[in-house]
Amino acid sequence: MNFGYLIVVATSAEHNYAQLAYALALSIKNTQKPGYDKVALVIDDKSQIENFNSPWVFDEIIEWDKKGHWDGRSYMDELSPWEHTVCLDADMLFFRDYSHWIDYFIKNSELYIANTAYTYRGELVTSDIYRRTFTKNSLPNLYSFFTFFKKDSILAAEFFMLQRSIMDNPNEYINMFLKEHTPKVIGTDEAFSIAAKILDITDEIAYPMQFPRVVHLKGGVQNWPWPANKATDHVGYYLNDKGKLKIGSYQQNDIVHYVEKDKVTLETINVLEELVWKS
């Protein structure tokens, strides 16, 4: 079996995405079984990871600078060194083993894209406050933050080729698919959803499943009866020395998409590094 995770980052003036990717890779090494814990990093400037204490947590490092910011994820199928890949957003952390689900995907799927998200209390996110574009335009609710694909799949190849075309030629698709609540920039999620709609493959690539369970920590989707910009203004974010995370008083056992980039500090990195070194 040739399976691995893929993280695509680029230099940003606002955030240190290389450090976020490093934290995610450390958390994968800390929680996944051998054989299911490989991580490939795509980065536009390798020098950003030279100072990390354990850059070996990246099994593959691919220097690639053809696209900036998040857009590199559109090329995940071409960039991944793995036969079977799960491409993740950098601002996520793992807290338990998911090898059984990876086995399921490898056996049953060529392309699977997350289509649900959860609050820190484990409730299904129902609010569309950040996803009006999807509901107003009847697009499938896809989250690119967890995308499984098989390298030699024709289905995946067609899908990624089309979504790249959407990203590269947004105006051609906006008039047809994003008439209402048109975003200023078409992001990966929108491109994924439009591609799935055009190919009419939503039921094949985003059917209901119990996995992945990703806690989305954007403030507005926590099912709170008050408006919230940042979730951590309202609940504490506590990563202990065993690498276990509590948000408020809720222990997190699922993948956490923490969103607020300042949650990964040098101290957080140190905690995750020590756990990797001990294991």
Partner: protein, 214 residues
């Protein structure tokens, strides 16, 4: 009618020579506490109060308009300076349950409250920055340290909870320190017997808290 016209000034001439009277605002204060009690035109305030000081018009207008609460305004009778205190509103979880950062993980943080945990002696020393008249001498990068004026209502208490590392759900010990006890002195808490890695949480009355383990 003709007589009246004779004494009417020429409006254009009057306007040309008009000098706007100086607007002066005054604030009355309690002589013992410095607490402001009234703000208004200087002459009017002077008629009613004995202890008054002149204040800038823009501040006076803001106080009158309610933009600045008069209860937050003080006159420092020693230095003859007018001060507005910052109103501390605790509305984020980090304000009411703030984890004090370890010195190892902070590079550019000027501490207002500094805690030193001596593992061998099992003591915790609490200090206030020299900027607030405390004993914690700031590092060279923050020198010369200016003096900041703070007014605290009543007995302000700093509450600290020693808990498991980054997990306030498992408290080990709690203690309080009166802010006035940190004025030109420090407080040492004895018998702080902490098991394993720990964090200290507090209500965030100051901006920056730093913890050092020695």
């Amino acid at each position: 009618m003709e007589e009246l016209e004779e004494f009417m000034p020429d409006f254009d001439e009057w306007l040309k020579n008009y000098v706007e009277p100086e607007r002066k605002f005054g604030a009355a204060f309690e002589p013992d506490t410095g607490q402001l009690v009234c703000v208004g035109p200087f002459v009017a305030v002077q008629l009613e109060y004995e202890h008054i000081t002149e204040i800038d018009e823009d501040i006076a207008v803001k106080i009158i308009d309610g933009e600045i609460k008069i209860s937050n305004c003080f006159f420092d009778t020693n230095e003859g300076k007018f001060e507005i205190t910052e109103e501390k509103v605790l509305n984020k979880i980090d304000d009411v349950l703030h984890r004090i950062v370890d010195k190892r993980w902070t590079d550019d943080c000027k501490p207002d409250i500094y805690l030193t945990y001596n593992k061998d002696a099992k003591t915790l020393k609490v200090e206030l920055s020299e900027e607030f008249n405390g004993t914690k001498v700031l590092d060279n990068e923050w020198q010369p340290a200016g003096k900041r004026k703070m007014f605290w209502s009543g007995e302000t208490i700093l509450s600290f909870t020693v808990a498991d590392y980054n997990d306030p759900h498992f408290p080990q010990q709690m203690f309080d320190v009166k802010l006035e006890d940190l004025n030109e002195k420090f407080v040492v808490i004895d018998d702080v017997d902490i098991t394993g890695k720990f964090s200290i949480f507090t209500r965030r009355l100051f901006k920056n808290y730093v913890l050092e383990e020695i």
